[in-house]
Structure formats: C-alpha cells, structure tokens
Point group: D2
Chain length 376, copies 4
C-alpha cells in the first residue's frame, strides 16, 4: 500500500455495497483511522448500474470481472459485498493474492467452505474480518465491556431472537434468499449467523450442544421473474434453537421472517448472577441493565442511552442524547479494520469466528432434520 492510504476494491454494489461505500467515506469524517481509505474500484456485473453507483459514491473506476480486480497490484483490500455462495471462491483468491479481506456475512454456505477460507487467509497472513456489524453498535459494545468487567457475574441465560416479517406478505416472490443452493438456508443462515455471533461475542463462550426446530409456513411462492409461475420455497421460514454454552449458560435463539410487526428485531436478554442486560436493534442506542447490587429500594431495569462521551464509537459522532443509526455500525467496523491493517493486528470477528458460526449453523440444520440434540 502507498504510504498513508489504503486502496479499496468493492465487490458488489447493491444494499451492502451502499452500506460499505458509506462506511469507507464516513470513516475519515468522524474518526481518525491510521490510513486514509481510497475508493479505487467498484466491481459488479451490470455495467450501467455499476457506473451510476460508482459515480454516486466516488469510486474511481469500475470493473465487471472480479478476478481482474484481485489481480491488481494497487489494491490493498478486497471488500466482499456479494451473495454468500460466491464468498469462498472470491475470498480464497483474494487471500492468495495477499489482499486484506473485509467480508460480508453470512460467512459461507458450508463448513467446508468456511474452513478453506480460514486456511487461505491464515496462510496468506492477511487481515481477515467477517462483518457482523452489530458487535460495533455502541450499546452492544457496552454490553460486552460491562460483562468483561464483571457486571453480570456467572451467566445463566441467553435469550436471543432475530425477527423480521418480510415474508408475511404471501405475494413476496422467490428470490435468491429462498433458494437453498444460493443461500444455504433461510433465516437460520441470514439472521442466525448474526444471532449466533452476537451470542458468542456477548456470552464469551461457545456452544456445547444445541437442538433446532424449523418450519415452512408457506411452501410455494411466485417466481420473481414470472409471477404467474409458482415454485417451491427451498429454505425454512423460521428456525428455533436452544442449547447450552460451554460456560454452563442456557441459550435460546429464534430466527424468523414471519414475525408480523417486527422489521429488524435483533434482540437479546442475558441473565447473570449479579445482573442482567437486554438490547433490541430496533431501539439500537439503548441498553437495558439490571444491577442486582442496587439498593433494594431502588432496584430496577436501567435504560442506558449509549450516547455518553465515555461510550466507545458513539463519542465520535455527536453530543450525548443525539442518537445514531444503522449505517454507523459499518463505519465503526471499517475504522477498526483500517487500524488493524495499519497495525498488523487481528480484527474480530475474523474468519475463525466465521467458521465457528458455520459449524453451529450446520449442527442446527442437522438437528432440525433429526430432532435430536447435537454436541459441538
């Protein structure tokens, strides 16, 4: 890389392409990362769309062949905002080319892919990161800090859920997210990967065992390309998990696209011997905290608005009481990623976290099929 800059190539220019572009741009406005990211090239298949996208966000060039992008000497970072089924091939090629990798989630469609990706990144010695952006939501990060400082004591329960509702509409057509080959699974993969990562991060322990039950509420839907045709929904509509962590805590996690009235409710409750916490992405700036050691008279769930000057990440934005939004979590991830590259350090969640999550998800698929508890 050139002296003070970091040259970025973005693969993918849809929803996540926007979020990532914004993050690279905002990183130097509100933070002081150790290198200045340069938006070198955006890569995609639809050239007209891609050019408009690049113009909007200030990508210097466009390219339709991702292999050419990876082959470029002037690129430091490959930012992968592609559908999951492409992650393995692209990631491994990027690693082999010595590029640092910022990879969207879900990490991979199979554990086999995951392990190959991890091995390639390790061998190449590059910075490798899986973008479970919720870890860097200030209220979530605060939860982690408080737990590390002992605020919860021994942990008894994790009660998590990631609930959406976009499939409640029965006219919603079949898209790639409903095809097994492309998406691996339904909400278990898409939402469950985030939910499992959050559990790993906050609980600070791995699953010892789990059971999963899934269900197809709606089994057929129109095709997006020809709505008069009906095709099978190939992935589950909802998946419930329960299990135990190695540290002894019990866990339940619910993922669904059929929770009417929940738009993006990624939520957890965590209960420990000294206190408890809860959080909900739809109210993402707040962390609820119950401190068992408060005076009995004044014990109660505290509503922490995580916008104080002592709260990490958020302190770089605005004064206390001024909330931030969804895309800010991406900015925080990008800033930490840049610094990890500059410092030659690891950044979490990395590909080993990605592989660990995939292992849990595959165990869940297995249990959903068999009805039996699976040890991990």
């Amino acid at each position: 890389m050139s002296q003070d800059t970091l040259n970025i190539a973005l693969l993918g220019h849809r929803f996540m392409g926007r979020a990532h572009s914004n993050a690279w741009l905002q990183s130097t406005h509100f933070f002081d990362p150790k290198l200045k990211p340069v938006l070198k090239v955006a890569c995609g298949r639809d050239e007209a769309d891609l050019q408009a996208f690049a113009d909007r966000w200030g990508w210097e060039e466009i390219e339709t062949d991702w292999k050419k992008v990876i082959a470029r000497d002037d690129i430091d970072v490959i930012d992968i905002a592609l559908p999951t089924f492409m992650h393995a091939e692209v990631t491994i090629a990027a690693a082999e080319a010595g590029k640092h990798i910022f990879c969207e989630k879900p990490f991979a469609n199979t554990l086999e892919e995951s392990e190959a990706m991890l091995a390639a990144a390790k061998k190449a010695g590059v910075v490798h990161y899986v973008n479970h952006n919720y870890r860097r939501c200030p209220a979530v990060f605060l939860a982690k800090q408080m737990i590390d400082e002992g605020a919860l004591g021994e942990i008894y329960h994790w009660r998590g859920a990631y609930q959406q509702s976009w499939l409640v509409n029965k006219d919603h057509p079949i898209d790639w997210k409903l095809k097994r080959k492309l998406a691996a699974a339904g909400p278990l993969w898409d939402l469950g990967s985030h939910a499992i990562d959050l559990a790993h991060f906050i609980v600070g322990s791995d699953f010892k065992n789990l059971t999963c039950q899934s269900k197809n509420f709606v089994t057929q839907r129109p095709l997006a390309e020809s709505p008069e045709q009906i095709a099978d929904v190939e992935v589950e509509c909802a998946a419930l998990m329960m299990g135990e962590f190695k540290n002894g805590a019990l866990a339940s996690i619910e993922t669904t696209r059929y929770a009417t009235g929940r738009r993006n409710r990624h939520t957890f409750e965590i209960y420990g011997s000294k206190g408890s916490l809860s959080w909900d992405m739809e109210d993402m700036n707040r962390l609820k905290y119950f401190n068992q050691d408060d005076p009995e008279k004044a014990v109660g769930w505290r509503d922490i608005l995580a916008t104080e000057r002592c709260h990490d990440y958020v302190k770089n934005w605005w004064p206390p009481g001024h909330i931030i939004g969804y895309e800010h979590t991406f900015v925080h991830a990008v800033v930490d990623f840049i610094d990890a590259v500059a410092d030659g350090t690891s950044l979490f969640p990395d590909f080993s976290d990605g592989a660990k999550i995939t292992r849990v998800l595959e165990a869940a698929l297995e249990s959903a099929e068999s009805g039996a508890r699976v040890n991990l």
Copy 2:
C-alpha cells in the same frame, strides 16, 4: 346447596389461601355471581395459624382434618390450595363426595394422577376447575377474544416465557419446591404449567411435538430447617422448551427461577399472518397489538390499556385508566366458577386441561433427559 348460597371449604391457608379467600369475598362486591359464596370452613394443619387466618378472612369454622371437611354435607365446594403432591388424593375424595372442585395449579405431579383426578371428577359429574388464573387477566382474555375474532389470521409463532429470579440468591434454602417428590420438578412444573396453559388457551391448539432442555445452575443449597447443612437441589433450575402446535405454529417457552431482574415475568409474543400480540404479567393491564391491516403510514404496535368499559371482567371494577392488580384474576375465576356451578356448566381450564398440561410437562421431562424431540 341451600337456595342462593354456595358453601365453601378451603384447604390450605398460606399464599394461595389468602388469594382464594380474598377472591370469594370480593366476588360479590364487584360482581353479581348467581350464588352467594359462604366461607364455611378453612382447613389446615397448624391450628393456631389457621385460627388467625380464619378470623382475618371470616371463615366461620376451622378444621385440621381435610377428610372431615370433605365428609360434611353442608359443603358445596372444595377449594384446594394445597401443595401439588396432595392434589390427587384430596381431589378424588372430594369428587367422590360429590363436591365441586376449585383446584390450584400445578394440577398434579404425574400424568397418572391427572388422569385419575379427571376420571373421578367426570364420574361424579361435578364442576371441576384448575386455577390457571392468568386466563382471566383482562388483557389476556382480550387477546383470546381478538384471536377468536380473527385478528391474527394464521398463527406462526408463540414465544413465551415465565421468568422469576428468587433462586439467584444462593443463600435461599431448600424448601418443598426444590424437592422432586413434593414438587415433581422445578420451574417446568411450577411456572411451566401456567405457561403451557396460556399457550393452549391463546394459540387454541395442542402440542404436536416438543423438545426440552433443562439445567441445574446451583446444585446444592442450605436446608431451611438447619442452614449449616447442605443438601442437593433435586429439581432443575431452568427449563427451555420448543415445539410445534398441531395447527402448524412454532412455539418456544422458557421457564426459570434465575432470570435476575424478572420478578414474575409471565410473557408471550404471538405472531400471525394478520397481526401480532404480546403481553407481560409484570405490566398485566396492557396488551400490545400489531395490526398488519393498519394504513402503512400509521402501522405500529398498539399499547392497549385493557381498562375500557368494553373489556370483560375489568369493567366491573373502576372507570377506564384505573388499573387492577394480581389478585383480581382470582376474583374473576371465582365469579365464573360460581356461575358454572349455578348453571351446571363446565368451566375452563378444567381437569381435562389439567391432564393435557401434565402430559406436555411429562413429555418435556422425557425430552430433557433424552435430548430428543418427543411426539405428543
């Protein structure tokens, strides 16, 4: 029974004895039941305590032998507020004596007991009721009405929990609730019986299958009678369930005595194709409602304060906006019980509901042991 009165005998005079006594007394103050309950006799083992209790609540007589109570001709109703392990013997005797039975929950310690109790009550042709009082919380009753009227459409998800925290205190001694022989199980029985009944009632369907996982966080505790001695906790500390209803809905239910900061959080979320509802006993007067058919611009979770004049039960108390509390649910149950006796009708939940719940709980125990899904 005498012309317009209903003679009650209460067995048990602790926590539930108070709640039941209050209910019989308040029934005629705020409602107009078809018969006037007469507090004839209170029965218990500790004569001094019992007399004080009877004086406080206006029970005409006391008796220390429950068999004598059941043998009395002038008693119409046996109100059972005893520990669960006594339910079967007492209930069957009461039924055989032709008494109507108002029975506290959990219904029984085993399915075998449950079925014998049900058979006895059916054979005797008496009114038999299991006191899952939460059904008659006005907000819960409203939920049921709305679902029956189609407000939710096809039901996709039940996400329930009954969380308490009284065992977070490690000094809490072993009492009868922690002994398997007396209590059958831990929160699975005590809280889970309520949680399962609520699911049955609101979802309007039975379990097709379920899986359960339980855990002992604290395995030894001091004895109540001699705190310097330590004994084993014989029942689980927490139990998680997930499963499927016969109508196709997925369910998860969590029961625990280790949810720091939750005192009596009996809660559910229910999601359907046309709307959703949620409720929490700690905020028992409110029902949250999401109506998928609201104008898109103004769609949102509605906070229904169930104190309007059209809301059943609560309309008998105070004007809108004046909330009621925990014990009122017992009053509602008693009023309906009296009318069922007067009318010769059934009252739900009855002993067949009690038996059905026990069957689910036994399946959960079996699954917790085996780790496998159990069909019902």
Copy 3:
C-alpha cells in the same frame, strides 16, 4: 369508641362510596390496623339504591338523613364521599359532634369554606384527613422517601399533569361536574386538587407564585336529564398552571378532560441536582429514577417496579412482581387513618393541607381571569 373497634358511617354511595367501602373491608385482610373498623351505617338519598349498596358491602344499617348519622353516639368516624359542595356543612357538623373525619377530595369549593372546616376540626381535636389517595400509591410514597433521603439534591423542576379525556365525546351531557356552583370549577378543581397535593407532597414546598390559563373548548352540551336541550358548560375544559415553589423550584401543572387517549394520566417529572424521578398513574406500580451518581457508562433511567418487600404498603399484599391496582391506595389511606385515630396522631394530608390546596386553586382561578402572576 368501643375497645378495639372503630364505628364508621359512610356518607355517599356512588363511585367513591364503593372505593371507601372496599377500603374499610380490605384494611383488616391485608394489614393489621390497630382497631377493627365496623361498617355501621351507610347514608344516602336514594333509599332503594342505598339498601342494595349496603347489602353488597355489609353496612349494618342505612340512613337517608346525614344529620341523624352525625348525631349518633355510636359512630366514631364520618367518612365523606359526597359532592364537594356539601363538604363544608357536613364536615363542620361532624367535627362539632366530635367525629373523626375521612373526607374525599376536592376538599371544598372555596377557601372560606376550607378555613371554616379546618377551624372546626382543630377546635374539636379530631383526626381530620383529606383523601388525596395518590400519596399512598407505593411508587409515589417511595418517591417521597427517596427525596427525603436526599436522592434528588436541590430540586429544579416539577412538571406535572393530570389528563383525562372523557369530555372529548361531544355528546357527553352536562352533569354536576360541569356546573360551577356544584363543582367550583372544572379539571382545575377535580384534577388540579390532586395534582397540587402531589406537588406539595413530593416537592416538599409551597407555591410562592403562579400563573394560570384556562380555556373552554366546548361551551355547550346537552342536559343529562333532557338531551334535546342544550345548556352552557359553566366550568373550564382545561387549565394550565406554572409557578415557582418557595424552595426555588419551577413548576408546571396541566389539567384537562380533553387529552384524547389519556384515561387517568396523573403524572409528574421532578428534576434535581443529584437525580430525577417520574411517575404516571396509568402505570402506577413503577417509579422511574435517574441517578446522576451512577457510573457514567451505566447512567440511565431506572424502572423501579415498586413491589419489593422493602417497599411500604405494597409489601403487605403479594410477593415482588405482583402488581396492585387503583383501589389499593384507598386501603392504605384507611389503614393509616385507623392507626392515627388509635394513636391520637395527625394524618396527612389533613385539613390544613386541604385549605392550602384550595388557596392555590383560588389563586389559579384569579390568575386565569387576570392573566397575571399571583403571589401566594
């Protein structure tokens, strides 16, 4: 009075008659007052209604002439649940007869009446109490305790409101509450008396000055007795106040019957140099608390569910997490009243508080008229 009992006469048998009857009865069920109240006689004008009322609640006798009631030697307490305009005459007669007085609010229609009532009670040496029952809502009582213990430091702001909505319905007829002669004023008197008392109690200071602005949104309504006839609404529809307390705190108080969606929202926010509190009667079991001294990282509004064993009044009812309702506040008042009689002590708010409130309300009326700030 006889040795251990306290003989009660109730004047009035409508809404407040029910609440008071219930309170006398429940007082000995859940508490241990020093004397046992005996429901001697209920007094009212409609003999048939009155008899049904007495039968329901267990009043031993009925009487249609309140003067006869007051003249009885066997009555210890006159419980006044009459319209406000009758308070002065009845109260003064009761005091002169040496009866202890439990008087509903609003205390009186004029300051002149108030002072005469206070003088009579003082001269008679009886226990005199004005039933601002919200003081004995456990969460409110807790607020007072916390402030007395210094939790708020110097007080800066009181932001109160008492909002109802029953007049939003334009068909609501004119009843006594809308006639100046009978009700003195509109929500200023009915709701404002409660709101002012709560401010006095919690802030612990008196008004130094205030300004008031009132408004008639709907000036004519049908007569209750002949709905085809229209008559003038004689009292204000809403009244806003602001002012300063003698301790330097600023106050705003809003009273209205036109707050659509608010049924009985009696609420306050109080801000001090060390912390803040807020409360709302529609969620009466909860007190919100912000502690400025919490660690910066974990600072936040705490949601205290005032049902812990250390919380006064509520501890007599049920275990933590089991909420109580509206009528319980009356029970608490009655219990304290009985003990004050037994002990020969004062009970607050007493008639001097009642007179002080009336003085504030009269100043508000004056300011609403003149548009100028009034010193108190």
Copy 4:
C-alpha cells in the same frame, strides 16, 4: 451557478460546521438532489483548525474573512453556522450579494435584527431558510402529514418541552451561551426557538398570547478561560411558557438545561378531538399515535417506527426497521434546500418563520419580566 452544480461556502466550522458539511456530502449519496453541491470554501477565524476541518470534509479552500467569501462570484450558497449574534450582519450582506442562504438557528438575537434579515432576503429574491432541522425528522414530518390529513381533528393541547442537563454540573464554566449579549437568552432562545418552531409547524397556527416564567438556579460560574475567577450567569437557566394558539389550542412549552437525565429531550404531546400524537427526539424514529376511531376494544397508543417505505425522507436510507440518527435531519434539510434553489421555490421554515419565532421569544422575555400575559 454552473450548470448542474451548486457552490457552497460554509461560515463556521465547529459543531454545526460538521453537521452541515456532512449533510452536503451525504445529500448526493442517499438522495438525488437536482444540483450537485460543491464544497467550495470553508470560512473561520482559526486558520490551523480551519485547514484541518477543510481537509477532513473536502472543502476545496479556506478563508478567514467572511466578507471575502460573500464577495466571491463563484459562490451560490452561504451556509451560516456561526454564533447567533453574527447572523444579522452576515445574512444581510449575503442577501445583498444575491446569495441563497442556509442559516442555522436561533435565527437572530432580536426581532429588529430578524425583520432586517427577512427584508434583505426578500428584496434580494434569494432562497432563505432557517435550519430548524427537527421538522425533517421523519417521525415529525409524518406527524405533520397526519394532522394535515385530519387525523387529529380539532386541536386542544400542545404540551412541549426541550430539556437538556448540561448545566447540572456546577463546574461547567461560563461560555458564550451564558452571556446575554452573545446569546440573547438562555434555553429560551437556544432550545425555545426549536420548540416554538415545532409548535408552529405541527399545530399549524400562531400564538395568540403567552405567559412566561424563567429562573436562575445557579447564578455564578467559573470563567472558562480562568476557572479560578467567578462571573455572573447572564441568562436564565430555565423558562416555562404557556399560552393559546389562534386556532384555540392551549400550549405549554418548557425549556431547561437543568433536567437531570435528559440529554436532548425535545418532545411534544398534541391532543385533538379525533386523535393524539407524541414524539421525543431521544427516540426520534418513533411517533406515538392514539386514534380515537380505533375499535373500543383495541384502542391504544400506537408506536409507529417511522422507517417504512412510505415514510418520507427515511425511505431513501435503509429498509424498514433500520433506524437513522441525528445528523440525517440535516441531510434532509440540505436536499430540500438544493431543490428549492433549483426550482426557485421557497423552503420552510424561512426567514419569515424565523422572524415570527423571534417575536414569540421576545414576548416571552417580556412576560417573564412582567409576570403578565402578552398578546401577540
């Protein structure tokens, strides 16, 4: 201006300089304004700071003399992020130079200044805008739309407040915001200008009269530059207002910097004959709505998460359920401003709104002094 671009000059580079710079940059990323803003020149007095600021945000040039900036032919827009006392001089000069003006609030320190500013802008025929950015918070904008569509019917009450707490810390030094000459007043001006604008916007009516009461809780503070010296606080610590709108609605508005636990609580409740709304900036993505016409059984306050695809402004950001933050309101204002310039239309709130607000604030100052109601 050049064909498709709009050349911007920013005066001021502190807090608001950041917010404005971000808004100009983000406007083309998430929206499609009719012209592309070009960040031409940033102007300030501290050259080193200014250069760092310009580098961070991509301003092409810097300048320390605002008069030179206004004199430049290539500048289309003067964006004023200066302290209020400078607004009049700069604004009038900018108008005279034919520049479009995007002016931060508070608009001006006096009504006299306000009227001169308005006259200059009108005479010049430029687009003139005062940045009360809260109008373009999606939930607020939705409130306005709903009211315009009749959701509230006749409006009875506006209950507003803008509460902060940064002066609760007694060590906070005297800065320009506490000096009368520079800031005109305390929270009345700083927060009250926003609060009054919001009332004007949402209620859709002007004040007919008002009364104000203000207070100094802390009268002396250390000087920022030499903390061992103490100086007088020259502005009020808190100011309460109440009044009536021309449409008959009552209003109360509270502004303070001493509301412990409130960081940036800009909030309102509005009650009408058909419904009610409430909002709080600390939870800015949500609008609470009570619809009087909901079925009685299901009536309740609705929690509208204003992130649906039909909600203006927010639909350009992320899918439903993904919230936005504080700075987004500035982006929305900038986008509308650019389009107003492109279309030659007015943009609200404009300088006549600014002047109207100043008139209300001056009346409040007068009333706070006199204690009397002031007609407007």
